[in-house]
């Protein structure tokens, strides 16, 4: 565990709401989708529970649903008083501009960044690095090499994960959301070995995602070097409240916001 002297920055817990047709959904390994509730209501509950941030993903799957999605972002901005990120289906500067103007603090790019990496530079130049989180879905290939997947984790790319993380940072990403597809929805904990290597390789903050089901999974991810941890299912299924996870982390000497 890397020790930073005189740092009082809190380790963040981020709750992820996957959106489909205006509802929060949850799947396992990106499949078997279940309805989990109403987005704004859930987001407000998580703020009350002590979530440090909310991420809304796949909010904008199609163009014709764009206005409904923007309307939702606007309502989220009106109701939440913590930061939130939106991602999914943003393909160009004008998409980004629309979502930031609707009240989002940050946007998350995944496949769009892989298809046109210069979009990262453009967003950083136009809106600042802090407004851009690049999401990376990673899976081990048959040789055990961490490899980037695109299109909702369905397609393999030629990119090695650690190389891609460095490239998105040098192009201007403000933070990185790293999801282990092998772990996503499996409740078996984060890929801490990958987190550890990624956090040493990068100077932007690293958000760990994919696999959390118990407070101890958060602890080991922070110990491996994650700056923030993102989870969804264990909170939506009401197995734990954010405050319970925070109490556990605090007892174990992780510096969290109470």
């Amino acid at each position: 565990m890397s020790i930073i002297i005189n740092s009082e920055l809190k380790s963040r817990i981020i709750v992820c709401l996957d959106i489909a047709n205006g509802r929060v959904v949850k799947g396992v390994n990106f499949e078997n989708i279940k309805d989990m509730g109403e987005p704004i209501e859930l987001a407000c509950q998580y703020e009350q529970q002590g979530a440090d941030e909310i991420v809304f993903l796949d909010i904008t799957a199609t163009q014709e649903k764009r206005s409904a999605a923007l309307n939702m972002v606007n309502k989220v901005a009106e109701n939440l008083s913590i930061p939130f990120t939106v991602g999914g289906g943003l393909n160009n500067l004008s998409d980004v501009n629309q979502y930031l103007n609707a009240g989002a603090d940050k946007v998350a790019l995944n496949t769009a960044a892989i298809k046109s990496p210069e979009l990262i530079n453009q967003i950083a130049d136009s809106f600042g690095s802090q407004s851009l989180c690049v999401a990376v879905d990673s899976k081990k290939d048959s040789n055990g090499v961490d490899t980037v997947f695109s299109n909702g984790a369905r397609e393999v790319t030629r990119l090695q994960t650690l190389n891609w993380l460095q490239e998105v940072e040098s192009r201007g990403a403000g933070e990185i959301l790293l999801t282990s597809i092998d772990r996503d929805g499996t409740n078996s904990g984060f890929d801490n070995e990958l987190l550890s290597r990624a956090s040493k390789n990068n100077r932007v903050q690293l958000i760990a995602s994919g696999g959390a089901s118990t407070p101890s999974h958060f602890l080991t991810a922070f110990q491996a070097g994650a700056d923030a941890v993102l989870a969804a299912g264990m909170f939506h299924r009401k197995e734990y409240e954010v405050s319970e996870v925070k109490a556990y982390l605090s007892k174990n000497s992780i510096n969290i916001r109470k």
Binding site: I4, I5, N6, S7, E8, L9, K10, R12, E47, D52, N74, A77, E78, S81, I82, P83, N97, L100, N101, A102, G103, A104, D105, F127, G128, S129, Q130, G174, E175, R203, V204, Q205, D227, A228, R257, K258
Partner: protein, 189 residues
């Protein structure tokens, strides 16, 4: 009586969260494109980069307006880059001068992870700010100034708030800092 809050248009995108925060606190919040006397509190929001914000202010002659408000001790709330523009200049856009009301410069912060994104506890002796934990999003900051009323430590120590005349300025985003942030804003009104 409801306070009228004028939020300066800095051409830098999202000011919705700032509007909503003041609305929650019972104010009438509006966007300001030009100088006016029809408001009680002036707000300089925290989106955008230093140079672009200064250019937008100069284009609308709002730079003079902010100066006048400041020197006549009227209430101003400034957030993030809105605080930074009160200084001489910034590493972010070295060729574009700030308002220069305070003598120090805004510099690139040498924090362990960059930019700073997240929650930090305020070190402050003021009633307004002590014990608050608030949300920061910045790559640049003011290391030290005589006007500081709070600072934070993220390996590097930097200014989190300043107070001078009617100005209360924050490097953090009170509108994004949950209950603590809203409490700070409420006490500034």
């Amino acid at each position: 009586m409801q306070k009228r809050v004028g939020i300066i248009n800095t051409d830098a995108g999202n000011v919705k969260s700032v509007i909503y925060a003041f609305t929650k606190l019972g104010c009438i919040a509006s966007i300001l494109d030009e100088p006016t006397d029809e408001i009680d509190v002036l707000v300089i929001p925290g989106q955008g980069r230093f140079g672009k914000v200064m250019q937008a202010l100069r284009k609308r002659q709002l730079d003079h307006y902010i100066r006048q408000w400041y020197f006549s001790k009227k209430p101003i709330i400034a957030i993030c880059v809105g605080m930074q523009i009160f200084f001489q200049d910034s590493d972010e856009d070295p060729d574009i001068p700030g308002l220069g009301i305070f003598p120090d410069s805004v510099t690139k912060l040498d924090t362990p992870k960059q930019p700073v994104i997240g929650w930090l506890p305020l070190n402050s002796k003021t009633n307004l700010l002590s014990d608050k934990v608030v949300y920061f999003v910045n790559g640049y900051g003011v290391k030290a100034t005589q006007f500081a009323t709070a600072h934070v430590n993220y390996q590097e120590t930097f200014t989190a708030a300043i107070e001078s005349r009617g100005l209360r300025a924050f490097q953090f985003h009170p509108e994004k800092s949950g209950k603590d942030g809203l409490e700070v804003l409420a006490k500034c009104l």
